[in-house]
Structures are given as C-alpha cells and as structure tokens.
C-alpha cells in the first residue's frame, strides 16, 4: 500500500524538482517560484476557490480516462467529449431559455452527459466491431468535435451581442448554485457533483457485475471471453460511460461559470485528464487528489506572469509534462526497486 502511494508522490517531487531547475536556468530563484505557485494556489479564499474551479473538470476527465482504462481502453478523446458535452448543455439552455429551476439544470446536465457518451460510443463501437484502435480514433474525433462545435457556435447559435465565438446565453433557470465562501471564485455545485461521480465510479467498478466484467476485459480479453463475457459490448459501454463523465465538464463550465459555450474554453482539460488518471493510479480517490494537485499547479502558475521577470505561466504545462513522464517511466521504478532489494540483500 505504501509503495503504491510512494511512486506517485516521488514522481511529483521529481517532476517539480526538474521543472524548478529549469526556472533556475532562466535566472530565477526556484524556491521563490515554488512559493509564488503555492501562494497563488492556496494564498486566499479566492485563490483556493480558483484551484477548486480548475480541479473540477479535471476530476471529470481524470475519471473518464481512468474508467476506460480499467476496461483496457485508452480514452484520448475526453477533450472532444467534453467539448460536445458543454456545447449540448449550452444548446439546451439557449434553445429553451424559459425552462425553470431545478428541472432546467438537470435537463442540461443530462444533455451534456448524453452528448459526451455518444462521442465516446463511436470509438467504442469502432473498436469492438471494426477492430480499429481507439487511440487514433479518439484523437481524430477530438478534431472533429472541435470543428463541429465551432460550426454550431458560429452558424446556428451565435451570440449576436458579442464579437467572441460563443453561443447565446442560457436561460436564468439553468444557472446552478455558486458557493459564496470563495470570494467570488466560480466554485459551483459542479464540484460536489464531481465528487459524487467519483464515488459512483468506485461503486460501479468494484461493486457491480458490469464493473467486474470491465476489469476482466481490461486484464485479459481472452479469459473474459472464455468466461462468457461479451467483450465488445463491455467496451462500447465502458467508452460511452467514460464519454458521459467527460461530458459533465460542461455542467461546471456552462451552468456554473460562463452561462454559454465559448469556443476554446478548455485549456486541454482532456489531455491533462490522462495525466490525472495516471498519477491517481486509475483509482477514483487518487484521481480526485491528482486533480487537486494539477488544479493547484494551473492556478498557481497563473501568478508567475506578473510576479517574476522571466518565468511564464506556461511553466505549469512543463511541470505537468515532467510529472507525467516521471510517473509513467516504469523502468525507473523497476531500477529503484531492484536497488532497494540489493541493499536489503547485502545487509542480510
């Protein structure tokens, strides 16, 4: 158990260390950069709120990737799924602005989930029935989703009152509750929803038949088939549900923050979700923790533009990339384990 936790923690430490050395080459004091990031992420109620605001979509995308991974599928498509999910939520809100609360947000959230699930079902079906690999398909679907979303936004639902590429605002009844304690940071009901989603994923994976079948397919397809499990069907369901989870990102963004769909609102939440799932060892609890960490990095780095001479907020991307590389480098951990064994052996 401890070793399971040790690897992600060491990865974070190693990734941060390497990243901060990079800032040292830029002529900044790494310790100072670290303090600015920490302060920017947790320094005040507002900062903490912003950290939570960024962590929320990462919980959804992280869960999405982790869920699919349990069934042996690589969901690189969370970005496209969340794009269409957010678009669907905004479209519902813009087309029927008169719908009242609390029905309205529920309808919009379901639409977001459905759109994401549909976008996940396509690569699921392609993998199960046509045998083409989901990695390439989901990458391609990300671009298709971006194209479709920009088409719908610019041609069908354009906001006449704005120069930006965004849809018409949603109706009043669609807004979900924002928590006031964070000094105006847009932390909404989407955060508890994300935590509930994490719990549901846990129950689904470890307490239901479907979850068992998914994990069986993920570990050994031939064994699962021998046990009479329809691996193709399980794959389609798994990627659909994963897509639905990613689609829920739209709830926080559209119903809890912007009130409309804005083209390019996501700073690659889908891709960072891969890192979150990996760092969280594909466990719901780990995903939540990793999402908080990456949310903090994202928020904390935003202050770097103003507070340092030469380090920019893109440092957070560098740090995240380094952490992913560290955590995924199996060989590194094997090597460390072997050394550990050798040390123990020589003592004995």
């Amino acid at each position: 158990m401890i070793r399971k936790l040790l690897q992600p923690i060491l990865s974070v430490a190693l990734g941060l260390a390497v990243g901060l050395v990079v800032t040292w080459t830029a002529g900044e004091d790494p310790w100072r950069v670290f303090r600015i990031i920490a302060d920017g992420a947790f320094g005040s109620g507002y900062d903490l709120g912003m950290t939570l605001f960024y962590a929320t979509p990462l919980i959804f995308t992280g869960l999405s990737v982790a869920f699919a991974f349990k069934a042996g599928l690589f969901n690189i498509g969370a970005e496209g799924q969340l794009t269409l999910g957010a678009l669907a939520a905004a479209a519902v809100g813009a087309i029927w602005p008169g719908l009242w609360s609390p029905l309205a947000p529920v309808v919009a959230a379901l639409a977001a989930m459905l759109a994401g699930a549909l976008w996940g079902a396509i690569p699921g079906w392609l993998r199960a029935r046509r045998g083409s690999h989901e990695v390439i398909n989901t990458i391609m679907l990300n671009f298709i989703a971006a194209g479709l979303a920009s088409y719908v936004t610019l041609y069908l639902l354009k906001n006449p009152g704005s120069q930006n590429p965004e849809t018409r605002p949603i109706g009043e009844g669609y807004w979900i509750h924002q928590f006031g304690v964070f000094g105006g940071a847009p932390v909404s009901l989407a955060l508890p929803l994300a935590l509930v989603a994490a719990f549901v994923v846990w129950v689904l994976l470890w307490r239901t038949v479907l979850g068992f079948e998914m994990r069986a397919v993920g570990q050994s397809e031939s064994a699962a088939r021998a046990a009479g499990i329809d691996a193709g069907k399980v794959r389609i369901i798994a990627l659909s549900l994963a897509g639905g989870l990613a689609g829920l990102v739209g709830v926080g963004e559209v119903l809890g923050n912007a009130g409309r769909f804005r083209v390019g609102f996501s700073p690659e939440f889908g891709f960072i979700g891969i890192a979150v799932a990996l760092l969280g060892r594909n466990h719901p609890l780990g995903v939540v923790a990793a999402a908080l960490l990456f949310g903090a990095l994202h928020r904390g780095a935003a202050a770097l533009d103003l507070e340092t001479e030469r380090v920019t907020q893109e440092l957070s991307l560098v740090l995240q990339a380094l952490i992913i590389l560290c955590v995924s480098a199996e060989g590194l951990w094997d090597w460390m384990r072997r050394r550990e064994l050798n040390v123990e052996g020589s003592r004995g």
Binding site: V22, A26, G27, F74, I76, L126, R130, G131, S132, H133, V135, I136, N137, I139, M140, L141, F143, I144, G147, L148, S150, Y151, L154, Y155, E268, F271, I272, I274, A275, L278, R310, V311, T312, E314, L315, S316, L317, V318, L319, Q320, A321, L322, I324, L325, S328, A329, E330, G331, L332, D334
Partner: protein, 281 residues
C-alpha cells in the same frame, strides 16, 4: 503544394518511428519545437539553411527525451507522447520569453532570409530517399523488422532497441524539419502553438497512406489541398446560396482517417509490434 510541405516531413518522421514499433503521437510537439528552433537560429544567423538544421536538432533533441522514456524507461508510448506534446507547448513560450521577453512570437525574419521554394523540393527528395532506403537498404529493413517481428531481428543479432532509438531520433529530426518549414518557409516567425494540430494531421496522413512513403506523401498532398481550398472557399456559395462552412473541410481529413481505419475505404493495418516494449527473453 506549399502547405503540404510540413505535413510531408512530419508524416515521414512518423513513419520511421511507427514502422520501428514506436507509436509517435509526439509528432506535434516535435514539430512545434522544430519550428521554434528554426525561427531562432535563422534570426540569429541570417541563414535559413542553418535554421533548418536548428529545427532538425531541436526536434531530434525532444525525440531523444521521448526515446529515453519509452525505450529505456519503458514508459507507455501514448502517455509519454502526450507528455512530450505538453512539454513542447510549455517550453516554447517559456524559452521565447527568456530570449526575447515576449511570450507569443519570435521576431520576424526578413523576406530575403526566408525560403522561397527549397523545402518543397527537399520534401519530395526526402520521400524518394525514404522509399529507396526502406526498400533497398539492409538498415531500412531492420526498421521494418523492429516493428513487425522484433524477435526475428534480435535473433539475427541486431539490437532492436538501438534500431528503435535511431528511428525515433530520425523521426524527431524530420518532424523538426516539418516545423522548420512552417516557421521559416510558410511564415516569417514562430508563434505560439503554430502547428495547430498539424502533427496529428500528419499522423492521419500516415494511416491513410498505410505507413508507406509514397502513398503517405500523396495523402499529405490531399490534406494540404483541403487546407488550401478552405481559404478559397470562404464566402463561395453552394447549395442555393448557402456558404459551405469551412469547418466541414477542416474536419474532412480526420473523418477520412477514421473511415480508412475502420475498413470502410480499404483496410489500413499498423505494424504488428507497434506500441509494445521489446525486452529480450
């Protein structure tokens, strides 16, 4: 023809890596850093040729990090590829800020110091060379074997991982060249995220071309053509006065890729051992 040049370089790069058994979704990042390297070197030395070299070096350097992770440290190729893309996306504005104190762009390169058409010819010469090399040289065959039957190659006494290292480095250099042709040939400077998905489009062309040099280059040409057509078609009316939305042409290459992979338009099969780690038994 012009806009397909970066795609051809990058797709050829992807071909080496994937034929040797390493799935390379980091092409995008390698292109981006190549574009940056080329813009900086050209600006400093006033020579686009040196810039091209700089782009190749930058791409190969990033590829070395990638190879280190996936070949030596046995990281998952897709995860590491994603991370490399993020690294390039983060490092380029960071380095830009340090060098020029702006995050968005490198300083413009005067027209006289940019390429007129050399990269275009170079890209097609490269297609020919790659074709000859993969088909007729023993070392070209090694690459294919590393991707199809690594055990056989190992049995023949050739180090699989060394072949893969070489292929990935070459892949990075070519992708860097693709990025370089973007920044010193098609435009006059490096700008943030200027590759805008071209690395993935190169990947799509590679699949469409079934991992073979000449068909891949033709696929690049087709996708480049689709990109060029977008600018022409803006505002042109089709279907009774309604303009054809650009977005539909933009997504066309990706739709085609999915259809091809699914076997609706001729089957496309990846190298057998792609994505696997090779360890000697």
């Amino acid at each position: 023809m012009r806009v397909s040049t970066p795609l051809i370089f990058a797709a050829l790069g992807g071909m080496f890596s994937e034929r040797s058994g390493v799935i390379n979704i980091a092409l995008e990042g390698m292109m981006l850093i190549g574009a940056f390297g080329a813009a900086v070197i050209t600006y400093v030395t006033h020579s686009p040729w040196l810039g091209l070299g700089g782009g190749m070096a930058a791409g190969a350097l990033l590829a070395a990090v990638f190879a280190l992770c996936v070949i030596w440290l046995r990281a998952n190729q897709i995860v590491a590829g994603t991370a490399i893309n993020m690294l390039a996306l983060g490092l380029t504005p960071f380095a830009c800020k340090i060098l020029y104190d702006v995050t968005g762009q490198t300083p413009a390169i005067p027209l006289a110091e940019r390429f007129q058409s050399a990269p275009l010819f170079l890209s097609w010469i490269m297609v020919g060379l790659c074709w000859l090399w993969l088909k007729y040289m023993p070392s070209g065959l090694w690459v294919s074997f590393a991707g199809e039957h690594p055990e056989a190659l190992d049995a023949a006494g050739i180090c699989v991982n060394r072949v893969r290292w070489a292929a990935v480095l070459m892949s990075g250099a070519l992708a860097g060249l693709g990025g370089a042709s973007l920044s010193v040939y098609l435009s006059s400077s490096f700008s943030r995220d200027m590759t805008a998905g071209r690395g993935f489009m190169a990947l799509a062309a590679l699949i469409f071309g079934k991992w073979r040099p000449v068909p891949t280059a033709l696929a690049c040409l087709l996708f480049g053509f689709a990109e060029a057509v977008q600018f022409r078609l803006q505002g042109v009316s089709l279907w009774g006065g309604k303009p054809l939305p650009v977005q539909f042409i933009q997504i066309l290459p990706y739709v085609i890729t999915i259809l091809v992979l699914a076997g609706f338009v001729g089957r496309s099969r990846p190298p057998k051992a792609a994505g696997t780690v090779f360890r000697r038994a």
